[in-house]
Symmetry: C3
Subunit: 469 residues, 3 copies
């Protein structure tokens, strides 16, 4: 039975729990600000978009879920995860769902388990815990709701009380869906984010194709670094015109450093001729981070940097199923040395804003909080990916805030492609924030009044301030 | 006074404590499954084996204890720790014991202190805290019990409620003690584990002697890599025939990577001629981890890997007293890059099982939990050595479980050479597990029923499943 | 309102809180032992020394404070922080103070916020929380007290109940202020500490000037390594004569290793001719750590080593304002490999004592506690700088003590240049220690009596023992 008591996720200590609830209540229903995530803008371009089957909504697109089943020997093909190599996959979504339900116990104590529980309860009125016995019954209940006319992304946008939702879009994207949203006259705010990874990281699969697309979409024939930069600037201007507030880049490390014009050009030409190696790619990414920071200082788009994921760690899964299949593994990160070149040029620039995300919690207190607690340009993003969890948030609060203070952080963003999980994710953060602040109040470190202001800042204000919304 | 209240080691919060006790009680007396440890099989080969003096039982063989006294300036020779260099050591065990008791306060708040307290209470009925004043009195009480006829390892095996105990045995071991146990018709299950470190790690002291012994015991003349591999395969087959369920390897790093046949042979020949260097040894260990994984996939022995101990850090102690004298110091570890070669070949193989142990807690959430939460072959061993402690377990639960779930872990093993401490170690784990699960229940993250199943899995089932017992 | 309840900073759990208070009370008023810090000895040399304005006392010299305001875009010049480059700074301390007060909310939940709250309450009788509205009023109140005749450093020394205060003094310092203190016949114990960084680290700005000063002050013409060592030995002897108990060195890494005499000389000569590079500097620092350890074994001065701060990370701030301006950022550290050369020579030497400080908390349990729990020479200093905070202390206790025990640690030191914050810093530590020990008591891990002894040791005894006071 999924009873969802009002004090869930709070400390069991009665004093702290009572205080947490008191701090949580005023922020529980504040609008959701979603400045970074991966929801597909197509959901909003078509007013009548439908989510498909329960498996298509909740299972098939969610690598948080199928990685865990795969780890226990359930094949991803049996879960209807689409293959890239032409191999067969389960076509019966009810059978895929049954396998998921049979293994749902694996998620006990995990954020994925909590989010799903909240979604089932709040979206579908289901308070039973999913298991092999009730799998088909719950499938029916979910399917029923999905068929109902008021179950469209746009209607959920209002029901979720979303104030703003930023998507993540390739530098080469035409933003046609965003254009359609805009032209539809709908009141929702769905804005693009400029993500140049595929053209900036030379080791992207089929990099030349992405460059060709960049040339086509920008109207700038990319033949050298100068034209590459011009094309990127053209795209940034277009994204900004389309409402973008930020850019986003992912890199294995936080290495930054300007190359000489000659070296940058030599590497770029090697890449155009298919001869760039891993060192070239790393150096060029470091160089382009400098360039992107410069552009941000000039055009005012907030720069986001996500560091530390080793992508596609499992060759077999990559060949069969492609990217984003639960086989990305974090690595240790370093910021103090790596970011120094960038920060020495732009870290004191009032026009520049850099929001950092990472997968190495050891850097929270050691590097990131001291950097954010000194450089005016730097803010820290919330705990990311594997650490977007109750303990992840607790550690984040405990390690970051004493050094950086809460006001050098960027509040919360859900970073999700799972649209229906958005309210659950924000609610978990708000509860975790209220509980952490309550811990400060009951230890007499801050007053109740200060605690209320801090909770609201964490729940709502800081995200808007950090992204200059 | 050592009163041992039933709620010891649980959270002080009344709700969590009550729940922890409720979860703990049903698992408190489950049989002990001990799939990895270092108890000497000689203890069981002779039905009438005696433990010797209190100092021989509790002090002299336990480097957890004498390292702490050494750190405070007590010489190890004064504690009757045997020397390798012919130097004198204390021969009066009562005087050694007195020195230990004089310094027992050093262990306040440490797992060693807790284990000893539990052993004194449960094995010897002693509820006083050891100190300089009661040292000789307690020595007498312990000695009395040790003289009693029912104080043999086999009788304690039943009293401890052990279901299975795996030892750790060199690849070159004849397993004569295991043979004797088997032939004695005794009902206890004491099984060997295949540990090839001394022949696989080329930088082992007197490596050629170990190779000579391997040739002798296997009947395969080891002259090159091919014959080396054949000899290892012969030994694995023999260990398996003798009941082994697993292998175990220790390495400074988790580096894996296949060498070309020619390179492997060149290194091996250099080693045979005493000319291998540190790089050779590291590369060969990485190569042999690939080979051992292949053999595990073929013969079904579970592969254990213990990473990160810098052995024999203190030259002086090593020269005077030899190995395993409390002078092993952990180092930072890396798994994401290092294990990729091995996992890309064997990580998806349903015949293969790899259990990882390590001494760098930063890798729990960053690398190990994501790996175990994706690759079907990988399970995480419990917190090891310095981290086999209440806080070590708390951190392990808090950092591993949200990402890997409990079902990708290997439950508990005690990894001890201190046979009488086995019940205390398992009990501490069961209490820590019950308390952690209780924390989830009182935060309304899992139901009581789920919590009960999780506690039992952590206390008993997972160890059997992980080792395929 | 700053009410300061007696149970502040303790766990909210009623049982633990009650126990914490019981343990805290007997140690709350023990004298303050301050074996390491950066208070200027001038404060005590002149019996009538005055602190200046409230901004001069609390804001201008404290980089913990102005870094946080700088991170939010407040210019350091506007806070009256003195510039090195001749640029203008705010001359009206009231206006600087107003800007500080306007932004004081940034310190919510930070140790700086807590310390200041305690100082305002205990030194100035102010229980309001500083903010923009009461800024000038509070300025007046503080200024009033500062004008009162009994507000001198010497009088505060007694009021703070300081037993001993060690300063930190360059190897080239004449110790004139210490001489003046001594000659004044005042009863306070203010002792120098030998800090040779500027002459030992070849990459110090204007290194040749420091060497020239060393020659002048020691009377030994420094022209080669031999004369350099002689000059250092001369200075150590003088410091010891002046009451010094310890030395202190800061290094980016913990690298140690003896150079051959020829290599050391070659590097030193390159440095004298302005041609030493970064590698030279790192190697020479590692060599000099060996030399300083040797000298410590010989003259009995305790050796302190502070590792891991990347100094002057922000070029612009360094050029404008100089050193120690909140722009030092921690880095990852390594001790197991790096300290082995030094520990293999001196780690077992009963005459030698090494106290380690660091900014990488991951090394607490992994490297530092195992080292301190084995080598008789090694003790661990308390959490340093960014980690001198409630959570920093909690993590330190939880990660260090199970492995090292409390008796291989060095108790507390405040490491501060902010003299009026000393009582608040010690009190925070004593509260954190009492609360941590209370957690052990209520979990039935140690008895109340043991807990009382441990709390006293942490609050007072261990610092005296570690520094052999």
């Amino acid at each position: 039975m999924n009873d969802l008591p009002e004090t869930r996720y709070f400390s069991p200590d009665p004093a702290q729990r009572t205080m947490a609830l008191e701090l949580y209540r005023p922020v529980a229903d504040l609008p959701l600000v979603c400045p970074h995530g991966h929801v597909d803008p197509r959901l909003f371009a078509d007013p009548n978009y439908r989510f498909g089957s329960p498996a298509e909504l909740l299972l098939i697109p969610d690598h948080y879920i199928f990685r865990m089943l795969y780890a226990q020997g359930v094949s991803m093909a049996d879960l209807s995860v689409p293959r890239q190599d032409g191999g067969a996959t389960e076509t019966d979504h009810r059978r895929a769902w049954q396998r998921f339900a049979d293994h749902f116990y694996l998620f006990r104590g995990t954020p994925t388990g909590l989010w799903l529980r909240e979604e089932l309860a709040h979206l579908f009125g289901i308070t039973e815990t999913l298991n092999g016995r009730n799998a088909q019954n719950l499938y029916d209940q979910i399917d029923d709701k999905l068929q109902s006319p008021n179950f469209t992304p746009r209607q959920l946008y209002d029901r979720f009380n979303i104030e703003l939702l930023c998507t993540t879009d390739a530098a080469t994207d035409t933003l046609a869906h965003h254009q359609a949203i805009r032209e539809s006259g709908w009141h929702g705010r769905v804005l693009p984010t400029f993500r140049p990874d595929a053209v900036v990281n030379l080791d992207t699969e089929n990099w030349p194709d992405h460059i060709a697309r960049l040339s086509a979409v920008s109207g700038v024939e990319v033949v050298d670094v100068a034209s590459f930069i011009r094309a990127l600037e053209q795209r940034r201007a277009f994204f900004k015109e389309m409402g973008a507030k930020a850019t986003d880049q992912a890199a294995l490390t936080a290495y930054t450093g300007r190359l000489s014009a000659a070296d940058a050009e030599a590497i770029f030409q090697r890449a155009l001729h298919g001869r760039a190696d891993a060192t070239d790619a790393a150096q060029f990414t470091g160089h382009m981070l400098m360039e992107m920071a410069r552009m941000s200082a000039e055009d005012g788009l907030v720069m986001q940097l996500h560091v530390g994921a080793y992508r596609n760690h499992n060759d077999l899964i990559f060949q069969q199923f492609g990217r984003d299949r639960g086989a990305d593994i974090p690595t240790a990160s370093e910021f103090t040395h790596n970011l120094r070149p960038l920060l020495n040029v732009f870290g004191n620039d009032p026009r520049f804003r850099l929001i950092l995300f990472n997968l190495d919690e050891t850097t929270y207190g050691r590097e990131l909080a001291p950097l954010a607690g000194h450089y005016p340009a730097v803010k820290l993003g919330p705990p990311w990916w594997f650490f977007d969890s109750l303990n992840g948030m607790r550690r984040y609060f405990d390690r970051v805030m004493e050094t950086a203070g809460i006001y050098n952080t960027a509040g919360f963003n859900d970073d999700t492609r799972a649209y229906p999980s958005i309210p659950a994710r924000h609610d978990l953060w708000r509860r975790a924030a209220a509980d952490w602040v309550a811990g400060l109040v009951v230890r007499h470190m801050v007053s109740e009044e200060e605690g209320a202001e801090m909770t609201r800042a964490l729940a709502y204000d800081l995200a808007k301030q950090a992204y200059q919304l």
